[in-house]
């Protein structure tokens, strides 16, 4: 394989891992618990900024970008901190929005949250360097490992895979347990769940915080790889791609969601790279968004349960007699 192809494929694999993780987190909130978090990408961004700032040195030594903090912390502290910040931000936002609001109000409040977040990140330039964003984030362990560029790429693929496995075990344990069952019950009928003694708000908040933590980790893995993060990369439309991936893959099914993350953000959006350029710059992007929207509509109409539907849980039967 040529170096260029190795670079390309390893990068795609990292992106895939990040999208799969992000989709698992969103699936826990939306697919399992039924929370319409249209601000999901904000929590990924919060994780990314956190990891970037903690990895970068103090801002005062940088001439071209301004941000708060800067700590030069070693791997894996920035990634863990990113998860913690994602969880903490979710706790704050969730406490305000999940209490008594109907699902459509929640969706709207989440849109507003994402707008406020982008506004603050863009305008408060000394926070995370405004619209230019952060860049030159050092790659984790690159000094220690001393690998050449291509091998470092493959190392990062392995790192992403390990984090993916951890996140999978986490969401798998949650969804297969009575906790996951109660979350699905709340998704199906919150009033019945409350009548059975479930503290619906507390459970929703739990799912929201866990999903937010995973979003934060996914942002950290991505920013440590690409080295930059700017407000342009986390608009609400990006959240919609993840929603579409979940719908296409199979709402509520972790395996299906992973397949959805492969099909929609990776295959579907990457494939257009290989199209010959047509029209003005940006035309392909616009058509791509049209296609993602149509794909979501198609699946909602034809296959609302997705490629791999939520599994029917059967319990072992006692031996007859």
């Amino acid at each position: 394989m040529s170096i260029a192809w190795q670079f390309y494929i390893s990068s795609i694999l990292v992106y895939l891992g990040v999208d799969v993780m992000a989709c698992w987190g969103l699936n826990l909130q939306f697919g399992v618990t039924g929370i319409m978090n249209f601000a999901y990408i904000v929590f990924q961004a919060a994780g990314a900024y956190t990891a970037a700032i903690l990895t970068l040195g103090p801002s005062s030594r940088s001439l071209f970008q301004h941000y708060i903090g800067g700590a030069n912390l070693p791997f894996p502290i920035p990634i863990i901190a990113a998860g913690a910040v994602g969880a903490l931000l979710s706790l704050v936002v969730g406490t305000f929005t999940l209490r008594r609001l109907r699902v459509d109000y929640q969706a709207m409040v989440m849109l507003i949250v994402s707008l406020i977040a982008i506004n603050v990140a863009t305008n408060q330039v000394d926070l995370v360097n405004g619209s230019a964003g952060l860049s030159l984030v050092p790659k984790p362990l690159s000094q220690v490992l001393n690998l050449d560029l291509v091998n470092y790429q493959w190392f990062y693929v392995a790192l992403t895979a390990v984090v993916c496995v951890i996140v999978f075990l986490f969401v798998h344990q949650v969804t297969r347990s009575p906790l996951g069952r109660t979350l699905r019950a709340i998704r199906d009928n919150e009033h019945s769940a409350a009548a059975l003694g479930k503290n619906v708000t507390r459970f929703r908040l739990l799912a929201f915080v866990l999903g937010g933590a995973i979003a934060g980790v996914s942002g950290a893995i991505l920013v440590e790889f690409i080295g930059t993060w700017a407000p342009g990369s986390w608009t609400y439309a990006e959240t919609f791609v993840l929603f579409t991936a979940i719908i296409v893959g199979g709402t509520g099914n972790n395996l299906g969601v992973a397949v959805g993350a492969l099909l929609v953000p990776v295959v579907f959006l990457e494939a257009t790279r290989f199209l010959p350029p047509i029209g003005y710059p940006g035309l392909i992007d616009a058509l791509q968004w049209v296609a993602v929207g149509l794909l979501a509509l198609l699946f909602l109409w034809r296959w609302p349960r997705g490629v791999i539907p939520e599994r029917r849980r059967r319990f072992r039967k006692p031996a007859p007699g």
């Binding site: 039924g34 319409m36 249209f38 305000f96 209490r99 008594r100 609001l101 699902v103 459509d104 109000y105 969706a107 709207m108 409040v109 849109l111 507003i112 707008l115 406020i116 506004n119 603050v120 305008n123 439309a237 919609f240 929603f243 579409t244 719908i247 003005y280 940006g282 035309l283 992007d285 616009a286 058509l287 791509q288 968004w289 049209v290 993602v292 929207g293 149509l294 979501a296 509509l297 909602l300 109409w301 609302p304």
Partner: protein, 295 residues
Amino acid sequence: MSVLVASIGFGLISTSILAIAAVGFTLQFGVTNVFNLAYGSVMTGAAYAAYVANQFGVDIWVSMVLGGLFGAALSLLINRGLYTPFARHGLGLAGIIQVTLALGLILENGLQAIFGPSYHSYQMSQGPSFHFGSMVFTAVQVGIMGIALASMIGVHALLAHTKLGKAMRATAADAPLARSCGIRTEFVTDIAWLLSGLLCGIAGVILVMDLQSFTSTTGSNFLVPVLAAAVLGGIGQPYGAMLGALIIGMVSEVAAAVTLPQYKEVIAFVILLVVLLFRPRGILAEVASLKEVVA
């Protein structure tokens, strides 16, 4: 002081545009319960429709009416062709919201694919300026406020004094009950979408007349303030939406003048979030809570 007064002038313009859009949004939502996130993109669509007419030499005010009609037709089409079939297909509230978001994305990017990513402007003059103390309005802005006022009076007259308006309110309060009382709820629903689309289209065109240039994302960028105004007043409540528009429009412009201009929207949204904390259904929400219990 004069900065403050001038900002009240800006606030009046914002309020006017917001009020038309928010009342349109809330009329439809009240009757049909569809939280239409494609609303902003329909505004943009109407703005482009008026742009095309304007390019053929049609006067801008006539183009505005055409834009409104386009919005009405498109909204009816969207509901008949997309939302109603999906709802009949058994898609729940959350699913329909995703359908509306998907449609919004398709419309916005479809328009960009057709008209390109650059900014467009209408061929029009802003007309002579009028001075009211330290407030200055162009003739176009005075026209915008006049249209807003006329629309609000029209909506009020329709709801309060016509049989159709009463049928709409009855359908909003309890659709099955209204149906059993002999109200043709499907017809009322169509009218709600047409009326909502008309207001949406007009709002889209006058937004651009005020901004003076626009692109495919202009309407969807305006969507969140519209939602905020509609929700602040108590969604499904046309008078609440007017009040919400006044609060959001005034607060954002005045706050921008006296504090941080870059946060003018943020301040308005924060007010909305705080209001929702204490009144989760908005300011004028009695009817909405009744509806919930009856349902």
